[in-house]
Symmetry: C2
Subunit: 455 residues, 2 copies
């Protein structure tokens, strides 16, 4: 993986380390300040805690703010522990309000209170703290300029020139939202329209009154889906009375989509979401997130074990039957995983919804029959090639067919059931589905074998 | 999952069907034209092929263009089959150039050629057709206005007013790119800066000359990662001589990120990516995408089967040994899946890269020891509770510990190896990893049991 523009993070980190070891903090600071915020944050993460604490107070307040914004919240909170309240206040003052609120949430409550009350404009940040982290209110920024609908374009331009937002906001701005005298959202106006319209025109006459919005308590994923569906670069967040509270920006959309996909992938793999960058996790933390699903096996194993014990006599009489246990379990598990992963993702991105449940089930059952017959046929030939008797080969073939059909059915039914019960479908995937299919698949196999072998 | 604004797609589809059955095409058209493009496309998808073909020619050219842009390319190509060349040309003329190029790629070559040459401005679309679908050149749009660096702000504003782009472009515009006399990219200027600067200022003096860009042959995922990393809403695409060819816009970024996450999730589940919306797939198509990984089991089963056969005598002598096969296989498979899913995702979003390989391996091996000891202890107690003898219980405990450590090691090593070999790490996950761990895990278990039982 090449870095475009030849930004070699490792090399930059080495140069900073060398400068620090030579006692040249100024040189180290200079190297960091030349980088873009995302690179600054990555370089910073690679330094030791001691080096980070040494460097942070030496950086420009703006650069420090950028770095803290880019870092993961917990990491940022750890880093500012050693800063004085005054130094931290200066930095938080430069942060975007939503990022500032995220950082304050991670600080000890007493300290967060002190910093908040010392800010130049605490009211930009305070309202954001009341919303849960994963809601629209928790990801929105309160740094926005609302135009009044009675303004003329010329008046709006004057207001815009005196606004002076943070560079991050300024650089990606494409819309202004329009409010009435009470601060209620009434329209949206693109910058392009603003600069191509007659300066004497009224905002109310050129704005688009049809605005897509969410309320502050809307889930962040639902908000992001809405933005992705309608190609929005900014989504207004309102309170219950339609007052404009804040705006979810383009970068938040990307972050939320990435975060939700990461959570789904980790859940499909059978782990609770890690909620932080991988290399920032401790071994104990990762183990905690994974042990639950591994332990679930002991419960399902009770069923698998019971099934095998139930057939103890048959397994003892015909040891060859046990040779096919891994193939049966593996096939069921794989067919089920294929199905759940596909269904979970199609539900997540809105390709399908609960209204399609019957179509999905029918689709997967037919796919299961097709795949099952293929696997059964090949399994039959394979068993004969090993010199297994015809009777066992037939039992394996029939069992494979039925197990694949069964796995596809369970694998599509479980995520749909979860969605219906408002549980994240990704939770029921992977380990849960495969351990369920294991026990039932074995039972199907051994019952068929018993019947065919006449035991 | 509620739809914000109460847009009830099913209800709308029903109303359109009723109107069509009553022969009231005009009413059906009116209902569709009131919707937003994304909703129009979803409603359209739900109609029968016959209904779609009946309605499409009746819609506004702009609405038809919007719908075709939102539909999956193959679906769109199927839909326009019945349109006359003249009607299709009018629609394609209204489409964004990158979407038009995507559609033309799916048409029979002869027809694509005819349509292309009849377009009002074929040169907006033609250059896009030469780039592969998954490259930056394949996703960029050629509909942009480049400002000249010698212009004053006032001259730029005049150029902008006479430009008149498609509404989709206009509504999300936040930047203009700046070129020299040869069309080479030299800078970027935000709309905000443009409207807040002195009209007599030269573009060259207020633009930012530090622009992040890609070349047309850059992979689309790499381009999207760059946009996500640096919070860009537009990314310029250049040819080898730095001429500005096109721009990747915000909506393309979102589409690419979603598409890549979907591919990874399907691969982790053990299926080849479906490359189209789930409900548009045929059963045969889905089965084809999945059969490969299922068949792989027969190859790995050769190893598992060989392992079991190798221990036939031991299994026959102590049938209880076989009761623990599913637990062992399940634990190894689950621990391995947890690891691969986490590592694959952290590589994909850039949380980690190959430079972190040793740190990742060490992290996972320590996690493996921790989880292995936990599973071994619980496995030991569980075996005793079942009344299994001490010797087998000890064998199970030791085997569980080693198998988890082994699964975590293999599960982190495989994705890293794949990345090193420039193979998509998601391919080696799931079924491949778990079937590999199955065979080796069984061997470890039975060797330990043999040693402890003194067989």
């Amino acid at each position: 993986m090449e870095r475009i523009f030849g930004i070699d993070i490792d090399n930059i980190v080495d140069r900073i380390r060398e400068a620090l070891q030579a006692g040249d903090v100024e040189e180290a600071t200079r190297i960091i300040e030349e980088l873009r915020p995302a690179d600054q944050a990555e370089v910073f993460s690679e330094l030791s805690d001691r080096q980070q604490i040494e460097l942070l107070p030496e950086l420009d307040v703006e650069d420090s703010a950028d770095i803290l914004e880019e870092l993961h919240d917990e990491e940022a909170a750890g880093l500012v522990e050693s800063l004085s309240d005054a130094a931290l206040t200066r930095i938080v003052d430069e942060m975007e309000p939503d990022e500032a609120a995220d950082l304050l949430r991670e600080l000890p409550p007493e300290r967060a209170k002190t910093i908040l009350s010392s800010l130049t404009d605490p009211n930009e940040v305070r309202p954001l703290l009341v919303h849960p982290d994963e809601s629209a209110g928790g990801v929105m920024t309160s740094e926005f300029l609302a135009l009044r609908r009675r303004m003329t374009i010329a008046e709006a331009l004057t207001a815009i020139r005196t606004w002076g937002p943070e560079p991050e906001i300024e650089e990606t701005l494409s819309h202004f939202f329009v409010v009435d005298g009470e601060g209620r959202l009434v329209g949206i106006l693109s910058l392009y329209k603003l600069i191509t319209s007659d300066p004497q025109a009224r905002i109310a006459d050129i704005m688009d009154p049809d605005v897509i919005y969410v309320t502050a308590d809307t889930d962040q994923e639902e908000s992001a889906r809405l933005m992705a569906r309608y190609d929005l670069v900014a989504l207004p967040v309102l309170d219950k009375d339609e007052h404009l509270l804040g705006i979810i920006t383009h970068d938040d959309l990307v972050d939320v989509l990435e975060e939700e996909a990461t959570e789904d992938i980790q859940r499909i793999g059978g782990s609770e979401p890690l909620d932080k960058p991988y290399l920032d996790t401790s071994v104990l933390y990762v183990a905690q997130k994974r042990i639950g699903w591994l332990l679930l096996l002991f419960i399902t194993e009770m069923f698998t074990g019971t099934v095998l014990r139930h057939f103890e006599r048959e397994l003892a009489a015909v040891v060859a039957l046990s040779f096919f246990i891994p193939l049966l379990i593996g096939t069921g598990g794989n067919a089920g995983s294929q199905t759940t992963a596909t269904i979970i993702r199609s539900l997540a991105i809105g390709d399908t919804d609960l209204g399609d449940a019957l179509r999905i089930l029918w689709h997967e059952m037919r796919t299961g029959i097709l795949l099952g017959l293929a696997m059964g046929t090949i399994g039959f030939i394979r068993a004969l090639m090993w010199g297994t008797g015809y009777d066992i080969a037939i039992a394996v073939a029939i069992a494979l067919t039925i197990v694949v059909l069964w796995a596809n059915t369970v694998g599509s039914f479980l995520p749909l059931l979860a969605a219906k019960l408002h549980i994240d479908p990704a939770i029921v995937s992977g380990p849960f589905m495969s351990t369920l299919v294991d026990a039932t698949g074995l039972f199907i196999y051994l019952e068929i074998a018993k019947a065919i072998l006449g035991m």
